[in-house]
């Protein structure tokens, strides 16, 4: 279209700018044609955009929001949330606050309100769930002054800490979930401090997740590079056979592959039996290779290997063999030619495979759950735990958001250092 417009251009104005046959400046006409092209292109991708928006952007945004959303206290204890704002955090709050609480409880009894607030507050202070339930049941018979009668019934109401938690969580948004996700908590003065040493888990899990993912990425590269090289430099018949061997496990069910690794690696398993048979180890010295980190690393390396081999292969396929020959003829030995001429040309494939394997393994869930034992668990296993078992969706969302942020940061760094335009996925 743009070319057609140019072809029609047969006049040049006196001022020197070109105009079309219809007398319009060429620039304007060109811009319009370009715009139309962009619009067509845009409409073609609209279905995909909408799909991504609905199935990806909105759920992820919503998940991220869940990590700060804190509606329980505000919604279900509105009077208390209001009254406690005035409290200075010293000693116990005034009778007004106690009265507001009793009123809220009376209203909430018989509805899900008290259960939800109790569950929410229990994340911050163990025992709050049953404290709320007991207070809810007793609310109708309570007589003023409520401060005395409530504390008498349940000493938890006499602890300033209880009220600090309620005060802190009586705003519609909270950072508590992120604080918990970083193994931090609030102390009595309201400062953010690390939790007791024997309760810290998430920070070291994040670190472990990244370390394991790095190890797995390195191993897939180490194992995948020679295979890809072989595939790229063999005649088509052999290369195709190798390709099928790489892809066959790729097409097999993930669960089947993971379970087969259990059979292979367990103490009474194939590998241990073989080693005992050939006398490599004694019968009582069988190795622990599964239900620990080794299990996770072995199984995940195997499962993710195709994600490294395929991009490497597609890059190696395009490297002309004449480059290596040229290097050799200019006096480089086999190793120098390989290391200085061949390997640098595969970086696009290494980068693509590396990013792919690393990002997939960071979020891997089912394999570590099955073969990881305790030492092979990753952060995603705890996210699933909080989603499905403990139902602390806020904490799950916070952990997920941190993981997502870390991946985006790594991707950004990768882009700055190596450049995303050099990625080659196949």
């Amino acid at each position: 279209m743009a070319q057609a417009t140019i072809a029609q251009t047969d006049a040049v104005t006196s001022s020197g700018s070109m105009i079309t046959a219809s007398g319009e400046p060429l620039k304007v006409s060109l811009a319009r044609a370009e715009r139309r092209k962009r619009l067509t292109a845009f409409f073609l991708v609209v279905p995909l955009l909408i799909f991504i928006l609905i199935t990806f952007i909105i759920p992820i945004g919503d998940m991220a929001l869940n990590s700060v959303r804190n509606p329980e206290v505000v919604t279900y204890l509105p009077r208390t949330a209001d009254a406690i704002q005035e409290w200075d955090g010293q000693g116990l709050p005034d009778e007004v606050v106690f009265e507001a609480l009793v009123e809220d409880l009376r209203e909430g009894m018989g509805t899900p309100a008290i259960g939800r607030v109790g569950a929410r507050l229990n994340y911050e202070k163990s025992g709050m769930r049953s404290t709320m339930q007991r207070a809810g049941r007793a609310a109708r018979q309570l007589e003023p002054p409520y401060r005395e009668t409530l504390v008498e019934r349940d000493a938890t109401w006499g602890e300033p800490g209880t009220w600090r938690v309620i005060q802190r969580e009586s705003s519609p948004f909270t950072l508590s979930y992120f604080i918990a996700a970083l193994d931090r908590t609030y102390d009595d003065e309201g400062n953010i401090v690390q939790v007791r040493e024997d309760q810290r888990i998430y920070v070291q899990l994040f670190i472990r997740t990244f370390m394991l993912s790095l190890v797995i990425t390195a191993l897939t590269l180490l194992l995948g590079f020679p295979i890809a090289y072989l595939m790229a430099h063999q005649p088509a018949r052999i290369a195709n056979l190798l390709m099928i061997l790489v892809l066959l496990p790729f097409w097999t069910s993930l669960l089947v592959r993971t379970s087969s690794w259990i059979v292979m690696l367990q103490q009474q398993g194939v590998l241990n039996d073989l080693m005992v048979l050939v006398g490599l180890i004694g019968d009582d010295g069988r190795l622990l290779m599964v239900y620990n980190q080794t299990g996770t690393i072995v199984a995940m390396t195997h499962i993710l290997l195709p994600f490294m081999v395929l991009p490497l292969y597609s890059v190696m396929k395009t490297i002309p063999p004449s480059y290596m020959r040229a290097a050799r003829s200019l006096g480089a030995n086999q190793w120098t030619a390989f290391w200085r001429i061949y390997v640098p040309q595969t970086t696009a494939g290494i980068g693509a495979g590396g990013v792919l394997v690393f990002i997939i393994s960071i979020g891997y869930y089912i394999t570590p759950a099955l073969v990881g034992g305790q030492s092979g668990q990753m952060i995603s296993n705890f996210i699933a735990f909080h989603m499905q078992r403990s139902l602390n969706w806020g904490l799950a969302a916070a952990l997920g958001t941190i993981l997502l942020a870390a991946v985006i940061l790594l991707y950004y760094l990768y882009n700055r250092i190596i450049g995303v335009d050099r990625l080659k996925l196949g």
């Binding site: 024997d198 239900y291 305790q374």
Partner: protein, 369 residues
């Protein structure tokens, strides 16, 4: 919200698929019953569902193995406003939380459940402490310590929870469940705390420290399991010498599959399991009719023909007979049999709903380090 909705949609899509396949049977009512799957669902299928469907040809019962994440499912369905489950099998602690959040219906036990054959009202016939505001117990099950008899010399077979913590006399790896429940109780019990006082001790920070200190003594010998089926598998593969596990699964492995397992009933941790009715379901009336029938004395006793869990009604005890396929007397395999019920620890659900969040994190941290 979207995440919940998505789960809800998925669940309803799955439901839709199930209903579609069930449609040719010309069912007027189809009930989705959520349970634990495996041998347990099979026992319910044979003891309850099949006889009930025979009597009521217009009702179809569809099994869904979603009980492990039942609370999450109930919450998601309730928030999405699309309740597709009609009846759910769950643990009393989860039922308590769901009840407090209004996700399941309150039960008037005497009104809604059958009396015992001798006329004792349901509220008195069910074992003491088993009924909840929204919860109808079916079975008593227990978490027991089991060992592989081939892993120990004949004159040196373990017999108590204390032996689990005695790695010198009873060497070999041990498999525990990967959560604090039952493990902390056993640590204290082995440390000399009387079963009735365990939760009083655990409510104090010193008590928790004491339990973890006891667990520390065997930490190097531990393996952890997550799903109920892993425990007998680990024992059968001789990956471990001891494993904790559900008594029904251990019975199945030992008696049905003939594995050389021995259950140690000392310190068995006893808990109930039972039905709850989701609020806002479409077939509440049909479900109530089913429940009235499926929880009467004979039906609860019938379930024990297929799996070694004790019926939750006192009046069912004398009706327990022999295993449907093996023909062996089921009574000695019941957690509630007097010989087995010498030193039980009754799981305190109130305690675990209060302290579960905190202790699970501490236990997870302990397992990692």
């Amino acid at each position: 919200m979207t995440i919940q909705m998505k789960t809800g949609l998925l669940a309803s899509a799955a439901m839709g698929a199930l209903v579609a396949t069930a449609a040719p049977v010309a069912a007027e009512t189809s009930l989705t019953v959520v349970s634990w799957g495996g041998a347990y669902t099979a026992s319910q299928q044979r003891a309850y569902h099949e006889p009930y469907m025979e009597q009521n040809p217009d009702v179809t019962i569809i099994n869904d193995d979603g009980s492990a994440n039942a609370l999450a499912g109930l919450r998601a369905q309730s928030q999405a406003g699309n309740v597709t489950w009609d009846l759910v099998d769950m643990l009393p602690s989860d039922a308590q939380l769901a009840c407090e959040e209004g996700l399941i219906l309150q039960i008037d036990h005497d009104e809604m459940l059958a009396a015992a054959p001798d006329g004792t009202p349901a509220s008195e016939d069910f074992l003491p402490g088993s009924l909840g505001d929204c919860f109808i117990p079916q079975i008593v099950y227990s978490t027991v310590l089991t060992f592989n008899t081939e892993m120990f010399p004949e004159d040196q077979q373990p017999s108590s929870i204390a032996d689990l913590f005695d790695v010198e006399n009873y060497p070999g790896r041990r498999a525990l469940q990967d959560r604090p429940g039952t493990n902390l109780e056993w640590a204290l019990y082995a440390d000399g705390v009387h079963p009735d006082e365990i939760y009083d001790v655990l409510r104090t920070p010193e008590g928790v420290d004491r339990a973890f200190a006891k667990l520390d003594t065997i930490k190097d010998h531990l393996v952890f399991w997550t799903e109920g089926s892993q425990a007998p598998q680990l024992l059968a593969d001789k990956e471990v010498a001891f494993s904790t596990g559900y008594n029904g699964r251990m019975f199945n492995a030992a008696e049905v599959e003939g594995q050389p397992f021995q259950i140690i009933w000392d310190g068995q941790v006893v808990e109930w399991d039972g039905w709850v009715v989701p609020a806002g379901g479409n077939n509440v009336e049909a479900v109530m009719d089913y429940l009235y029938w499926a929880t009467d004395s004979q039906r609860l006793a019938d379930q024990a023909k297929y799996i070694s869990y004790g019926p939750a009604r006192a009046s069912s005890g004398e009706l327990v007979s022999t295993h449907a396929d093996l023909g062996i007397d089921m009574n000695p395999h019941m957690p509630t049999h007097p010989d087995n019920y010498q030193t039980p620890i009754i799981l305190d659900n109130e305690f675990w709903t209060d302290y579960g969040d905190e202790l699970r994190e501490r236990f997870a941290s302990w397992m990692l380090n």
